[in-house]
Symmetry: C2
Subunit: 390 residues, 2 copies
């Protein structure tokens, strides 16, 4: 009897095999899963068993933070450190733990250019600090954090403590690298991180899954109760089709990374320069949010005082230009972005609390001509709107 | 300038739009999301805003249990009730909460036929009981639980308490309906449940997402810290392509439900009858696990004493028949199934602790001819193996 004449025809059996079965189909699925895991591990310079597949970046960040806190067996409340411009999946998890009295938290403010000072991180480390979580690159303003320097500070703290007290694996260091994936170095050894988050949402053609890299020595507790999938750290049937796509897509973007980074950095600087030298934008008092150089090659983020940024998004959209006001990950939230606010209180005062930010994301199809078109369109819109708002 | 000449070309923008953006693309994505949510709501006879999309069944079950426990504002530890044959994503979450001292738990044993007695559930309800979680149909042996009767018991308890004490919304009632989706009634009003889990993994052509139905009046806390997606109860960018697929697939299986249920029930009974009347199986002492009638139309689960079920899976697989030994959701776990064990201690003793179970899942392509072939293949395999094992 041919293989297609199987009696097992559970609805999902054909297209969506379960890698946990021991039948022939299950074995094939498991091989595909291991293959995808090896691909990711090679790019991160890690071991295969250090790669955990999750449902996305939000879950990976939660697994890193909640997982470390719940695994801690020390005395008293654990202490965790982050910055004030993290993605909501980090910041809100910190606040949730503080509220539930499961952890003490320290939120270190970034400098006016949107970059954290590693010395301030180091100063905030305490005896019961179990985790430092700093994003590799910011999701709104694209500023790149000094991950290697922070890792060095933490190692220095551990060494100094090892002399006088019991040696300890803590504090662990986590970085949310979701925004960095297409442009920055992902070698976990060079970065010196213990935990690293990636998301398929920010990788061309990748499936909607997330990654948490977890150094082998790190103790982590699962957030979910359930099966033993993903080394017992992430129960639930693996989303195999998306995982396979993720592995392939990650491989591809690594290949074009260097070239795209050079090309987009040039375009980004050309774009910023054009904005800074536009008459109407200078008159209105445009602010470039975040460091002008130490930022992702694909990110330009500006504040245009007094004119609602939502309105600008809609006007630009009508001209075929897709932008984003504030963080798109915080749906239905009308308050000013916590990232822009973090820059604001540190110096560069914005004109009004209502002032939002406008993010342009450059990509593989972005050209000089499109940038020229965008600056022209923005100038026209502002010339039309200024009489109503300024 | 045509719409395709957009400057925004963030890697994921084309294929994977983010429904949280306010630009034109974001609006289109949000409409698709709302449309999928309405489809699911119509089938469950619920409101749209009562449907939460998650990454799968394991997460939905965790959100229901963890969400209710964390939202409880009452005095002392909350108490939660379940049965001893639940899916690991329910049972292990209960045990995790007990271990972390976040909840008291009661695990009610099922009867020898794999069905729970509603009176035993009712008896175990205490003043601080916040949740009862009983699966609609079991994932290994397919037995169908008396959900309506349990709901009635809980309502009766609430009414009786309301007379003497303060009225309370608790205990809430959750059912894991992952296995029931293709065959049983999903009307949440008729069932009388407050929370209900579904998973795309068990629906033909559905995307890999999960559903948690949450009655509007139920207080739930998010497991993840993060953005405000899914009514603030499930942060993280929505997996829109999979969600759209889920809505369409759920609609389709509802249409063919009645016909398939009748067809498969006949085939299942034919299959069970053939197994029970096979000479070799009778001689070996085959046991049918779970109630012979009150089970899913697509489930046949047997124990063949003394012969390792893993070996039977491999032998059957070589003949093109895909089966599953124990629960496929518990990967790498070599211990006997907790479901089969639950039946075992209640009477029908199996010959050995090592005896596993063999699950046949019938589906849309299953025919009488394939069942005949399967019974014949199984007999041949047993005739070959019996001299080594019995």
């Amino acid at each position: 009897m041919p293989k297609s004449n199987k009696i097992y025809l559970d609805f999902a059996s054909g297209a969506l095999p379960n890698p946990s079965g021991i039948h022939a189909e299950g074995l094939r699925a498991r091989k595909k899963l291991q293959n995808a895991r090896s691909k990711v591990a090679r790019i991160l310079h890690s071991r295969s068993e250090e790669i955990i597949f999750t449902s996305g970046g939000t879950e990976s960040n939660n697994l890193a933070i909640q997982g470390v806190v719940f695994a801690w067996q020390g005395k008293g409340l654990p202490h965790i450190i982050t910055t004030n411009i993290e993605h909501s999946s980090v910041l809100e998890t910190f606040k949730m733990f503080q509220k539930r009295k499961l952890a003490q938290i320290t939120i270190v403010p970034v400098e006016p250019n949107g970059i954290v000072d590693p010395r301030k991180i180091k100063k905030s480390i305490k005896k019961n600090t179990v985790l430092v979580s700093v994003s590799y690159a910011n999701n709104e303003i694209g500023t790149i954090q000094p991950i290697k320097e922070i890792a060095k500070s933490i190692r220095y703290f551990k060494k100094a403590r090892a002399k006088s007290l019991v040696p300890s694996a803590y504090p662990l260091f986590h970085t949310d690298a979701v925004q960095a994936v297409n442009y920055l170095d992902l070698n976990v050894e060079k970065l010196g991180v213990d935990l690293l988050t990636l998301s398929g949402n920010k990788i061309e053609n990748a499936g909607r899954v997330g990654i948490l890299y977890k150094r082998k020595s790190v103790s982590l507790m699962s957030i979910f109760g359930g099966g033993n999938q993903e080394m017992g750290l992430r129960p639930g049937t693996e989303n195999l089709p998306a995982i396979v796509e993720f592995g392939e897509a990650l491989e591809f973007v690594q290949k074009i990374k260097e070239k795209e980074t050079i090309r987009l950095t040039k375009l980004r600087d050309y774009f910023i320069n054009k904005l800074l030298h536009s008459n109407i934008l200078t008159n209105i008092g445009m602010i470039l949010n975040g460091d002008s150089k130490n930022r992702l090659p694909n990110n330009v983020n500006i504040t245009i005082p007094n004119i609602p940024s939502d309105l600008l998004v809609i006007e630009l959209s009508a001209r075929g230009i897709t932008t984003s006001a504030k963080s798109a990950c915080k749906a239905g939230d009308n308050k000013a972005s916590h990232v822009i606010k973090a820059l604001q209180v540190q110096g560069k005062a914005l004109h009004s609390e209502q002032d939002g930010s406008l993010r342009f994301s450059l990509g593989r199809d972005t050209t000089k001509r499109k940038i020229d078109y965008t600056v022209k369109a923005l100038s026209e819109i502002l010339n039309k709107l200024k009489k109503w708002y300024i």
